[in-house]
């Protein structure tokens, strides 16, 4: 079947099967920033925003996204670059495979919280973004500094 999605502000008409998940469809459309990590909805590497909310695209029916606004990290590239600067400054980007999904969740968190979340809130909000490289500490350092800098702006 054919579905029409708005991906990063651009209308795209895509062929998909009724049972297909959004990850497959997005990657087929060239959105390689959406990663396939675990196949079971555990790792968060495939995170995209659907109407502004972070969801696992591997667990989100593609047909259900019809008419919705899909945002990948590429759709928030300017903001993502700002965060990337903090993440790489801590050396916490490592292999980078989890990074697009992780960074997108960080940006969603920033939107959702009216004030700067504390460390426990940060860890909790991002618990669905697994990383096997970093041990998370450097990521936490980067997020805190990024949020503080954003808040100061």
């Amino acid at each position: 079947m054919n579905i029409t999605l708005r991906i990063n502000g651009k209308q795209e008409s895509i062929e998909c099967l009724p049972g297909e998940m959004l990850t497959e469809v997005l990657r087929r459309a060239g959105h390689f920033e959406v990663k396939k990590g675990c196949d079971t909805g555990n790792c968060g590497a495939c995170t995209v925003l659907v109407d502004g909310k972070p969801v696992l695209s591997c667990s989100y029916l593609a047909v259900r996204a019809e008419g919705k606004e899909i945002t990948t990290i590429q759709g928030l590239a300017d903001e993502a670059k700002k965060f990337a600067a903090f993440l790489t400054a801590e050396g916490a980007d490592q292999c980078g495979f989890c990074a697009p999904g992780f960074a997108l969740t960080v940006l969603a968190m920033k939107e959702e919280f009216s004030s700067i979340p504390d460390e426990a809130q940060i860890r909790h909000y991002l618990a669905g973004n697994l990383c096997r490289c970093s041990g998370y500490e450097g990521q936490i350092r980067a997020i805190k500094k990024y949020l503080e800098a954003q808040h100061a702006e």
Binding site: T72, A84, Q94, A99, R132, G135
Partner: protein, 796 residues
Amino acid sequence: MQNNDYPIPLPNDAKLEATKQFNVVAHDLPKVDGEGLVLGRPAYTDDLVPPNALYVKLVRSPHAFARILSIDPTDALALPGVACVLTWKDIPRIPITRAGQGNPEPSPHDRFILDEYVRYVGDEVAVVAAETEALAEKAAGLVKVEYQKLKPVLDFEHALDNPIVIHPEPGIHEMFPIGFEPKRNIAAAYHMEIGDVEQELAASPVKVETTVHTQAQQHVALEPHTAFSYIDLQGRLVIVTSTQNPWHTRRLLGLAFQMPLRQIRIVKPRIGGGFGGKQHIHVEPYVAMVTMKTGRPASLALTRREVFEATFTRHEMRVKVRLGANPDGKLRAIDMQVLSNTGAYGEHALTTFMVAGSKTLPLYNKVSAVRFGGHVVYTNKVSAGAFRGYGAIQGLTGLEAAMDELAHKLSIDPVELRRKNMLHEGETSEVFRIMGEGTEGVAMNIESCKLEECIARGKELIGWDFTQLVHEVAPGVLRAKGMAIAMQGSGIPLIDMGSARIELQDGGFFKLHVGATDLGTGSDTILAQIAAEELGVDMEDIVVHSSDTDHTPFDVGAYASSTTYVSGSAVLKAARSLKTKLIEAVAEKFGVAPKDIVYTQKTFMTADGTKSLSLNDFSYDTLYHDGEKMKTIEATESFSGSKSPPPYLAAFVEIEIDTETGKVNVVHYVAVVDVGTPINPNLAKVQIEGGLLQGIGLALYEDVRYSEAGHMLSHNMMTYPIPSREDVGRITVELVDSYEPSGPFGAKSAGEIGIDTPPAAIANAIRNATGVRLTEYPFTPERVLAALKAAKTQHT
């Protein structure tokens, strides 16, 4: 969830001394590929697959041990769009190893790309290729395989001399003596003794014996193993793959397919994590078979379940340690006996096992007698292979448990017991000479060892007070501290070799080509830092290209904590050599002797200051302006270490244990580390933080479980969760000032040492909390509670 507001001393923000000595090295520069990766630009193998590639799926064994009687591909081939079904009959019967190691490999050649026998659930049976992934999967399901089921050996404690022989087949062999005895289910064996251990133990007034059992562990790099292949314009086979060792991959494939190596090119793009899990050939042979058969590009990305069931795990080991000491705590003898489970095939069987001794026993170098030995046995489980910290984490877990038991027996501070016996700068250990990864070792004096400093700072950070290592925070809930120390290596001496080529480009920048394999650790970045430092330029002036067998010089690959030390030394040598050539060329141009050229601030000047030329101008001169003097200025250098200087780590952990439920949480893990000069302190620190969390995962959470028939039960991330960011309260890593004279700008390794201590330190903390020595990993709440109850019953 852990409370992260735990009060801890502020980290020491004082910069390392090294930072003051260098301009680029020892500075926290961002990773060169960092922003691109965060933005999700296509970079990993699966992002780069050609659009017309065939999809490859593998038919895998549903049995732990079986002989294939027949394979009928008729129904699969009848599906429109199915390109081929290949079986063991389609390839030469050449025994190989899948382990990416030096040549000759210390692993037995006991494996065929496809075989008539399958030896674990998930073992490869047939290769199916089709136009779409769904079609390939469907076709794989239609391949009819008839098996003769054989009784498997699943328990490694019963593998040795079991009447069931896992490798009875002819033709398999070891490359040099490693104790390979397949008829006894032995993949490798080793024994060594310095002094007379039994006599020394008998004479020791204080003795302890501890046996630990560490489980298999999964790497769970977030990117699944992926490869694609195609035939290039010259008819050569090109494989793009998530590998840690392009050259070993090329060599092993050449052997397996009986192809000249010149016909193969291996390219590694970005890798989404490795940890040793991609130090083998798991996917490359199968895409290659399809491309060679069909002439078409072919791609294979393993499902997560396949990664779990059919790549490699950490070696399960039983480690028995006996110590003999004097009443004052002076160690006299260490005996370490190991049984290791290599699973169905012997990849890294010997080396992993050797490291259990060679990278732990030298820690306590003042003993009169030391012995190490044991067997590595086959079982019908998925093969074990390389995994960060291999052998060291298992051996250390046994050794550091025994050390704490000794401290308890003597009622002395475990920190003081270690200080009394541990290795110091300027010392050596006979073990270095006797034991290496492939049996024999290399003698080495320790030129840098800041363990004392690591311990002192670690005590401060955790608030170590031997008289109060445990306190109750709520009814039944205890907080307790424990510690352990560790060493690793920096590459395999006289075996690991890396090379680098640096070439001046117009515009005054440099092209750095390295064979080294960045698997997400940041090695492209730190190697560029080393080049920039030596060449006196900025990071931006170095453009790195790595890991392509056609376009970069040789490197064994990223493993054994080798990249910074081995490949980094090659880069430093190349940069030095290039600098000499640049100065010589400019000297000739100026008509002066090279010694009269001063090179600073990217500018060449004569010593008398009369002539000066910028690097940028010179780059145009040498490439465009200097007529018949024009030349490319480049240098290629290689490095193979004559030693493997260990980094050191002192770990202190505070845990919380709920004695009513058995749940153990890590509240704070402190690691103070001597990595020599950290080329990029942040990247080194994050390497260690990541290693620590993997080690904590092994200690508390992660376990590879099988059914009684040998099916893996923990075959996805729902059944094998890796630690999340809510599991551990806080991890604090600090680096100490240290300088390794043999390393590039004083550097040693940082990649593996982080993972080594958590199983031991956490066990020691639980022991301090409860008096109970846990030995069966991981310490799940059920195991902990059972051990506490058993101890209670014993006491009453």
